[in-house]
Amino acid sequence: MDGMRGARRSSTAAGAGIPAVNGATDVSTVEVAFDVNGVGCALRLDSRVTLLDALRDHLGLTGAKKGCDQGACGACTVLVDGRRVVSCLMLAAQCEGRRVTTIEGLSDNGAPHPMQAAFARHDAFQCGYCTPGQIMSAVSLLAEGRAGSDEDICEYMSGNLCRCGAYPNIRAAIRDVAASEDA
């Protein structure tokens, strides 16, 4: 982890957008700027805010989901500088100057990413809650060169839980996209 690289810390009564209610003065805030889906953003946040909560609660990008807030379910998976991370285990303050890609940034001018289309075609979800994280992981899997065999797909997709049990269809979707990329 790169820790607090570049983040500017300050200690004030309340961050921008945080209504001062009690007037207590123990809230540490940070200013952080990073790129989300190709758009630069600058935020002043409670230093405890995770990347996941920054995306969801401060940037209105609710595609990434909170399933455990403990890094154990993968529903919050996003790409940071092209690598998948569980955004609930990363503080927003760690993202200074980084490039974040979420499910909302995956489509190309409104055309679904091939992985999104494959998930729909193979019915690779049911409730859909884990789906943004599954798709971000699956996209990353291809980039990592780990979608070449079922064994690899099983292994490297096992950090993304699906309680509805769509695993066989998730594998089918990934196989499908991997095969078309090879072709």
Binding site: A13, V27, V49, D57, S107, A120, C127, G165
Partner: protein, 736 residues
């Protein structure tokens, strides 16, 4: 009325209509909603399992940054307990007194400007409890026992005489642990008051129940309450009740006069929204040497909370699964200081079937008979309790087709006789007779002036495919392309729908949509009844067909006209009709209302040195009546099967025997199946449309899970000779 071209729409593997939203992150779940001025709630939970709160000190929390309110039993408004529901009494209202009934009970709610502030302030609330010993063990003789809790115990024939006459008797005890539903979606409530009116986003399977309950609890008119749940992040039963945290979010919003969001944490999900209760089951079978069952006795004990109730008739399955003249089933509940159990995918059946289908396998082994043959031999051609013919039953075909697809004939009869290299191979089988369930439901269908249709009901789609299959059904019934039909749900302002639960929604809602759509066509016929300009003038409903956005006379496509033309000529912007379905009644139909039937065939591979167990193959053959969408129905069965693998091999909610604390309340500690635990699997549907209802479906949401635990345990026995009667089946039980 029939619909031309229906084969294209129904049964076809149409992609989910909500797929584009779900794959882009656009589907909005309850905790995705945000309102101007919205503040956040966090819960304080009891750290003891029983006793009274002696002191609760919230001063530091109240002084913490961002805090708007800390509500405890000392300052909470008085609330009524929720009403009696279809599923039994409501949970007790929270914060009404100083009593603690279970570990994790919500004893305060903190509201602050941000979620971080609320959670921090919640950690500052100090509580002192009276020191009392909790009842936490199902075997504790001091625990109150409820006999025959639902008056569903059964007795037929003479069980004692049956056992006395039996050549072979099998008598064993099976145990299943607490399991926690753990949908991926953290359950969340967003509440916004406007005077006495209230809008609530909630992770519910049943918006109308939330509306009715909140109206009772807060003593406000039901008509002012709107409950929204267009998308729910799974539930598996956890969203069937109006749990205390829902009430607390609404209470907090009332207190601070701002929109409030409350999202449960994963550990809170283990103590706040129900769980599958543990069970101890004694199952005794008597049979002739030829393999005819002559006596079945199933006695089950489950756990339940102190001041709450749960419907979980575990032994019921043994009364209805096999033809046997002498049968007795008994259920008891032991009251403990535990969070209240509740339905979890395949409630009761999931536990009871494990005991029954394990015992059948044990009997087959004792008789040196193929377990498939034993099941076929004792097939219940009529409903064993009522004696009525089934409205549909293709269980025999489930067995025979499954055996064929799986290659059951390759099974060597002796345990330990099959190997693949070093690994032991086991084949296992279980049968499932899932109960039929349907309750009243309503829907409304409208046709717009442009010829598109809007159909809706306050149901939920928790991943079940309801949006999609109801779109298909309405499209067929109105003769429209699916792209011209919008089916909407998840809003209590829509016509009444029951819960997505009990595998009953597709039947209830499908038949309501059926009636609404047929009535809508009749409305069109009424409009043109005396219309000299219409080729449909005077036509009755049974004399017409619908296709391509038109109504025409049966067998004469040219003699009709479009919805658009009729609406335009009569100066109408839209035409609508309501539909209502009621459950089919066995006594009226002279048939026993069938649920789904199924057979599960499983192959396991076990490393004899390490005890490592892998499920290598699963074939599920299901009689689900008429299948509206093979793609989503297959997903339901696969998903249930994955849940069954979890029940069989992983899931075990561990309660600390001293404090009642859940010792493994995270996804790192409570194991659920991951991708690498689940093989590709085959699902086959057999059978015919069910005769009890016009639409002919039978629910397939839960049957996929049921039978897996027994099929895996039976396969383990076949692989190793070791009989595991206690779930989950773990490595230590397999060290050979």
């Amino acid at each position: 009325m029939t619909a031309a071209g229906s084969r294209v729409i129904i049964g076809a593997g149409l992609d989910r209509v909500d797929a584009p939203l779900k794959v882009t992150g656009g589907a909005q779940y309850p905790n995705d909603f945000d309102y101007p001025g919205m503040v956040h709630a966090a819960l304080v939970r009891s750290t003891v399992a029983v006793g009274r709160i002696l002191a609760i000190d919230a001063a530091e929390a109240r002084a913490a940054a961002g805090v708007l309110a800390v509500i405890t039993f000392e300052n909470a408004m008085r609330l009524s307990r929720g009403p009696m529901t279809l599923l039994g009494p409501s949970p007790p209202a929270p914060l009404q007194n100083d009593r603690i009934l279970h570990y994790g009970q919500h004893i305060a709610v903190v509201v602050a400007a941000t979620a971080e502030q609320a959670r921090h302030a919640a950690s500052l609330v100090r509580v002192r409890y009276e020191d009392v010993e909790a009842l936490l063990d199902i075997d504790d003789p001091a625990a109150p026992v409820v006999e025959n809790p639902w008056r569903l115990d059964t007795e037929r024939g003479d069980v004692a005489a049956g056992f006395a006459a039996a050549d072979v008797v099998i008598d064993n005890t099976y145990t299943t642990p607490d399991n926690t539903n753990n949908p991926l979606g953290l359950m969340a409530t967003v509440a916004i008051w406007h005077g006495d009116a209230l809008t609530v986003h909630d992770s519910t399977q049943w918006p109308h129940n939330v509306r009715t309950s909140l109206a009772t609890i807060f003593n406000v008119p039901e008509s002012g309450i709107r409950v929204l749940a267009p998308y729910v992040g799974g539930a598996f039963g956890a969203g069937l009740r109006v749990w205390p945290h829902v009430i607390l979010a609404v209470l907090a919003a009332r207190e601070v006069q701002r929109p409030v969001k409350l999202v449960l944490t994963r550990p809170e999900m283990f103590t706040s929204v129900g769980h599958r209760p543990e069970s101890v089951q004694r199952l005794k079978l008597g049979a002739t040497r030829a393999g005819d069952l002559v006596a079945v006795q199933h006695e089950a004990v489950s756990t339940v909370a102190m001041d709450d109730d749960d419907y979980e008739p575990v032994s019921q399955c043994s009364a209805v699964s096999y033809a046997c003249p002498n049968t007795r089933t008994r259920d008891r509940q032991v009251r403990l200081n535990i969070p209240c159990p509740g339905s979890m995918r395949g409630p009761a059946e999931g536990q009871g079937n494990f005991a029954l289908e394990s015992a059948i396998d044990e009997l087959a082994h004792e008789l040196a008979m193929d377990p498939l043959e034993l099941r076929l031999r004792n097939f219940a051609a009529e409903h064993p309790v009522s004696g009525l013919p089934w409205s549909s039953n293709a269980l025999r075909e489930c067995y025979t087709r499954g055996a064929e697809r799986f290659g059951w004939s390759r099974r060597g009869p002796e345990p330990g006789s099959m190997r693949d290299g070093h690994r032991l191979v086991g084949y296992g089988l279980a049968g499932v007779s899932y109960p039929g369930y349907q309750v009243p439901c309503q829907a409304r269908a409208s046709l717009n002036r442009d010829g598109s249709a809007f159909v809706r009901s306050a149901a939920t789609d928790i991943g079940t495919g309801t949006y999609t299959v109801m779109t298909q059904l309405a499209a067929e019934l109105l003769g429209l392309d699916t792209g011209r039909v919008r089916f909407d749900l998840g809003d209590s302002d829509m016509p009444y729908s029951p819960q997505a639960g009990g595998s009953g929604l597709t039947g209830a809602l499908g038949n309501a949509v059926h009636v609404a759509c047929r009535r809508l066509v009749r409305e069109f016929l009424d409009l043109v009844a005396d219309d000299a300009a219409s080729p449909l003038r005077g036509a009755r409903l049974d004399e017409v067909e619908v296709s391509d956005g038109r109504i025409h006379r049966a067998g004469a496509v040219g003699r009709g006209e479009s919805y658009v033309d009729i609406l335009a000529r009569h100066g109408l912007e839209e035409l609508g009709a309501d539909g209502r379905s009621t459950p089919p009644l066995p006594e009226e139909l002279g048939m026993a209302i069938a649920g789904a039937f199924g057979a599960k065939f499983v192959e396991v591979r076990i490393d004899p040195d390490l005890g490592l167990l892998r499920v290598a193959r699963v074939v599920s053959v299901i009689d689900g009546g008429r299948i509206l969408n093979e793609k989503t129905a297959t997903s339901q069965i696969i998903g249930g099967t994955v849940g069954g693998i979890g029940q069989a091999l992983f899931e075990d909610t561990v309660t600390d025997s001293g404090t009642g604390r859940i010792a493994n309340a995270t996804f790192g500690d409570y194991l659920v199946p991951v991708n690498a635990d689940v093989p590709d699997m085959e699902v086959v549907f057999v059978g015919e449309p069910d005769r009890a209802t016009p639409v002919g479906t039978k629910g397939v949401g839960e049957i996929g899970l049921v039978g897996m635990a027994a099929a895996i345990a039976n396969a383990v026995h076949h692989a190793t000779g070791r009989r595991v009667r206690s779930l989950p089946i773990t490595i230590d039980q397999l060290m050979l």
